[in-house]
């Protein structure tokens, strides 16, 4: 019973904290660029405002357009249920399989691309086509980076992988581990629409990928999508943190351990968020035709990660 309760608290945590993470990254970026910046809790206000607004839907839109926000939100919530956040093993016995997690996240991306095409606006179509290009190139990298971890742990279960790394602390500095981290970090930037690949803070038509797809959304639909993309960012960051630097995560239901696990998770996510803010301040957006090259860098890194974990084994 406590297990299920804990898992629900996990999901509630992701729901509650993810807008703050988005706000934190925006605030840090503003500070680094010598602007004062909106407060960290600004995204909460934006969500409340959007939920209060009416929804405008194009006449040509089909059911796909209306269903997509719910599918995106629900699939991201389902992922929040499966990943190890504060405690391992993940309590609910659904199996926290890496492959399930990654493809649930991609399900949302797929429906967003469909919805972008659905309204028939040229921007939506352009955004969908770009998003699919990026997703198709990011896909093999994610698979390879996963395998490099799974080979080390002998299982694709996220909880098992984390436990395995906890048991053998020296593997953290192993080359396969570091290369895999770098590869997954680059893919994370691409998948969550962060800077060198996509610009999350602009509606300037030529630079956008993710923003172009959701251009037609308004009101509560937009709120759901924005919230889901915040959660996706939080989940990706906590996955990176827990898979590659698992220390602090709780291994039992002991309250003190859980508190430490929670603090460790938030600390690690904040550190990664700072890294993203610093990167986005320093880097310019890549030209679209350079994006495949960046993704092939991450593919090669993942390939090297897999080979070196095989050899070490």
């Amino acid at each position: 019973m406590t297990d299920y309760l804990l898992q629900l608290i996990n999901v509630a945590l992701v729901l509650a904290v993810s807008p703050a993470l988005v706000g934190l990254i925006r605030w840090l970026k503003a500070r680094m660029q010598n602007r004062r910046g909106a407060p960290i809790w600004q995204p909460y206000f934006e969500l409340r405002k959007l939920f209060g607004k009416e929804v405008v839907v194009s006449d040509t839109a089909s059911w796909v357009f209306r269903a997509t926000p719910y599918i995106v939100f629900a699939s991201t919530l389902a992922v929040a249920l499966l990943v190890p956040l504060v405690r391992i093993p993940v309590p609910v016995a659904l199996g926290s399989d890496l492959i399930v997690v990654v493809y649930l996240l991609l399900l949302g991306t797929f429906f967003l691309a469909l919805a972008g095409l659905d309204t028939g606006s040229p921007f939506g179509g352009m955004g969908s086509s770009r998003e699919m290009t990026v997703a198709a190139l990011a896909e093999p990298t994610i698979a390879l980076a996963i395998f490099s971890l799974a080979v080390g742990a002998g299982s694709t279960d996220l909880g098992r992988i984390v436990a395995e790394t906890l048991n053998a602390p020296t593997t953290v500095a192993a080359p396969g581990h570091l290369l895999g981290f770098a590869a997954l970090f680059i893919v994370m930037l691409a998948e969550t629409g962060r800077l060198p690949v996509d610009n999350p803070s602009t509606h300037l038509e030529l630079t956008m990928i993710h923003e172009a797809m959701i251009l037609e959304y308004s009101g509560r639909y937009l709120a759901l999508i924005e919230w889901a993309s915040g959660m996706k960012l939080f989940i990706f960051l906590s996955l990176l943190a827990n898979l590659y630097v698992p220390w602090g995560i709780a291994t039992s239901n002991d309250p003190a351990g859980l508190a430490v696990g929670l603090l460790a998770l938030l600390g690690k996510v904040v550190v990664l968020g700072c890294a993203i803010a610093a990167l986005e301040t320093r880097l310019a957006k890549l030209r679209l035709f350079r994006v495949p090259e960046l993704l092939s860098v991450s593919f090669v890194l993942a390939l090297l990660a897999v080979t070196s974990s095989f050899v070490v084994r």
Binding site: P175, A182, E293, S296, V300
Partner: protein, 233 residues
Amino acid sequence: MDSLFSQLTALGSSLALVCSFMLLWRRSLDSFASAFTIQSIVVSAVTAVVGYFGNDSDLYYVAGLFLLLKAVLIPYVLRRTRRRIGALREDTPYVNTATSLLIGGLLVLLSYVVTRPLVVLSDLPTRSGIPLAMGIVFIGLFVIISRKKALTQIIGFLVLENGIALLAILGTYGIPLIVELGVFLDVLMGFWVMQVFLYQIDQTFDSIDVEQLNMLTEVTIRPADRVSGGGGA
């Protein structure tokens, strides 16, 4: 202790390998020079680590000299040359960037295959770095054959040399100091000679694009001219 040693050398070798991938991914000649500098620092650090764990104090001198030569002197000269020539970017390599990166990955796989017998037989704690060092050698060679600018090719050669140095350190715990000194001198001489060639190419063609060398075709000259104008070109 041994596991820490092998972890550190494997880590250093992978970092050095990632630096050589920077040569395939970046385009500006200055970033090539920085990648080479970082790689040299990493290789020198690996040398010092091998010296510490292998109880060989000579290797500290080798590491120091390596740092001085390849992380200070040669990058300085490279940057100065780049400024004097004014060439900025490697814009149109023979093989495009994405393909180069994939080929680089395949070359590393190849080096795993090639060094497999060596790694299986050896019981050195440094053995896991050997395929990576071999990969650096292959990538250096690939840079030389797939890039057009003479300066990039020189950096490719230097990276290849770094790979060989790393291979020597990991495979044999370093060769005697006197041999290392000879190798350093060779590298320095080779580098200077290439610099001279570079200036000649730049002066003759007003560009360091080696494709221009194709314009050097033989012209039929009358015997009388050949006597007076010998050695020209």
